[in-house]
């Protein structure tokens, strides 16, 4: 009996080694698989944990100067980075960015951001929740060895307060200035301590001119922003950025504001970008999108509102010089339509968004060849009767790509600029 037990133990051990080897091979091959649903990956992994862009929460992506795709996603309280050298066909084994687990936010409006500088420095920001009461910290890290290892993450809000710092956005100018902006509640806290009311939150930012080695102190852009919508960013000249965010007007109206941020904390051109008259003391969780227009100082913007003047997804062209938004078009007014995203490439404008008909979500695309004056009829790229993320667009040296995660298809990185003539 004891001999029998010994043999069976040895066999068990051998078996477990064999299974581990098999699973390692399986997992390795899974990482090298093209877009497919997380569910099918999990089924093939025989109960082992699958760390993959197809399973990760709220991925975002960028393309480096060499045309390689880099993506960041959240899984099990860690940010992961993976790379694809064949436009999303196959992915490298994801690298864990933060060694200590953090309550990293990942949802349609708030996800890790990833950028790659021309010299290959990988730059990342995200929001870490610090309590269930809307407190959070803006985190930043980078890799200077082509994504093999990442520096320990740093907290970028410099107030040391246990308050809200969330909804980060990251942008690198062509001249190499790195801008990080977010929604901040330090002024709300200060007002509350004085017994004063303070609608909403504030917008803050910081700048780095050495690719994230050092940053300036935090600068305030505006008081009274909405608390829960992503901030859109676009270049302004060589060194500055323009940002577009949901702002509170007259205490209860949640429309949009635009401003230009300079590298020394100089904020200029702060003006109202949309007049929708959306009277709402609520969280729309619905941020805008913006890209630079052909004309310097002009921006293509798209946003969602359910205001008295504009309801549904709208598009417009904002002119910083006059402070006005013109050529306003309703893109989709059907209930459930939302989350537009813009890109401009080779003089064509692309806009994607999500529609919903009661059963299925539709991923919609339309194009403009005349700087937003007229648009093609919407074309449905995908339909799904399962959950899906907000669609994002990534502009690469070789085209415009849809970056979209869904239960049904996994993570998709698909060129949308190739079939323009169709």
């Amino acid at each position: 009996m004891p001999t029998c037990l010994m043999i069976s133990n040895r066999m068990k051990w051998l078996l477990s080694v064999a299974i581990t080897m098999l699973l390692t091979m399986l997992l390795w091959s899974i990482d090298a698989t093209a877009a497919e649903s997380c569910q099918s990956l999990r089924e093939r992994s025989a109960g082992q944990q699958v760390i993959s862009i197809h399973c990760g929460g709220a991925p975002s992506a960028t393309v480096d100067a060499d045309g390689r795709l880099w993506a960041a996603f959240v899984q099990d309280k860690h940010v992961y980075v993976t790379r694809s050298d064949d436009n999303g066909g196959t992915y490298t084994t994801p690298v864990r960015v933060n060694s200590e687990p953090e309550d990293t936010e990942y949802n349609g409006e708030n996800r890790p951001k990833i950028l790659v500088a021309e010299d290959g420095t990988v730059l990342l920001s995200w929001t870490t929740k610090t309590s269930p009461n809307f407190t959070g910290e803006i985190r930043f890290t980078r890799s200077t060895d082509v994504g093999k290892t990442f520096e320990p993450p740093r907290t970028m809000n410099d107030d040391g307060l246990m308050t809200g710092h969330r909804f980060d956005s990251l942008f690198l100018t062509a001249s190499g200035k790195l801008y990080l902006t977010w929604i901040d509640k330090r002024d709300l806290d200060a007002s509350a301590a004085r017994g004063e009311t303070y609608p909403g939150a504030a917008i803050y930012y910081t700048v780095s001119d050495d690719l994230g080695e050092t940053f300036t102190p935090n600068f305030r852009v505006s008081h009274n922003s909405c608390e829960c919508c992503r901030i859109a960013m676009a270049p302004h000249g060589d060194d500055e950025v323009a940002i577009l965010w949901r702002q509170i007007y007259d205490e209860h109206i949640r429309d949009h504001a635009i401003a230009v941020l300079g590298e020394q904390g100089d904020v200029s051109g702060l003006t109202r970008a949309t007049v929708d008259d959306w009277f709402i003391d609520a969280c729309p969780h619905h941020g805008p999108t913006m890209v630079q227009a052909a004309q310097p100082g002009q921006y293509h913007i798209s946003w969602f509102s359910d205001g008295n003047l504009h309801s549904g997804i709208h598009y417009g062209r904002h002119d910083m010089a006059t402070g006005t938004t013109e050529n306003i078009i309703q893109v989709d007014g059907t209930p459930g339509a939302g989350h537009p995203y813009l890109a401009r490439y080779d003089n064509t404008l692309y806009m994607v968004w999500k529609g919903f008909n009661g059963m299925a979500s539709h991923l919609q695309l339309m194009r403009s060849q005349d700087d937003g004056a007229t648009w093609s009829a919407p074309q449905t790229l995908f339909n799904t009767e399962q959950a899906s993320d907000h669609p994002l667009l990534v502009t690469a040296p070789h085209g415009v790509f849809l970056s979209w995660s869904s239960e049904e298809f996994g993570y998709l990185f698909t060129e949308i600029s190739s079939d323009e003539k169709q």
Binding site: I280, G336, S361, A387
Partner: protein, 160 residues
């Protein structure tokens, strides 16, 4: 060695008990695509109020506080609470509901990550903004409200 083992067994038992109590301490149920229609039929011929909220929504806390006070004054007030968070956030939701004394009233959480369809099952014209509330009259005609519910608004529908 033996005492160590005993200690770890005792710790495991305690942790197990704590976890099972935590799992039973709330009255949250999953909301699927057919749930809202069932809830409505449970109130046939009766008025009721639905309040939709999420753990990530700051204005919702103001509304939950008001609703907590209301339920304290009037425990019979016909209120349904629906959190649009997925069920994984249950612990966080319970923590918040407890803060406002609302943990024992009928409560639902979105059971599916396909939130668009669940929203649609409640109201096809709702864009997802929170807080969102519905006042159902006895004949189940309803009025929707986006933004924080005020006492005045409640009184409009349920005059004392």
């Amino acid at each position: 060695m033996k005492s160590n083992r005993l200690l770890s067994a005792a710790v495991a038992l305690c942790v197990g008990l704590l976890m099972s109590t935590a799992a039973l301490a709330d009255s949250i149920q999953p909301l699927g695509t057919g749930t809202f229609a069932e809830l409505k039929s449970g109130f046939e011929g009766k008025p009721f109020v639905v309040s939709l909220w999420s753990v990530d929504c700051l204005p919702c806390r103001v509304e939950l506080e008001l609703l907590g006070e209301l339920k304290k004054e009037d425990p019979e007030f016909p209120l349904l609470l629906i959190s649009t968070d997925t069920i994984e956030k249950r612990e966080e939701a319970v923590y918040i509901l407890e803060e406002y004394g609302l943990e024992s009233i009928p409560s639902w959480m979105f059971a599916d990550a396909f939130i668009e369809r669940l929203r649609f099952s409640i109201d096809p014209t709702w864009h997802g903004e929170l807080p969102r509330s519905y006042f159902y009259a006895a004949d189940h005609s309803f009025k929707a409200h986006s933004g924080i519910l005020t006492e005045e608004k409640l009184r409009e529908f349920f005059p004392q």
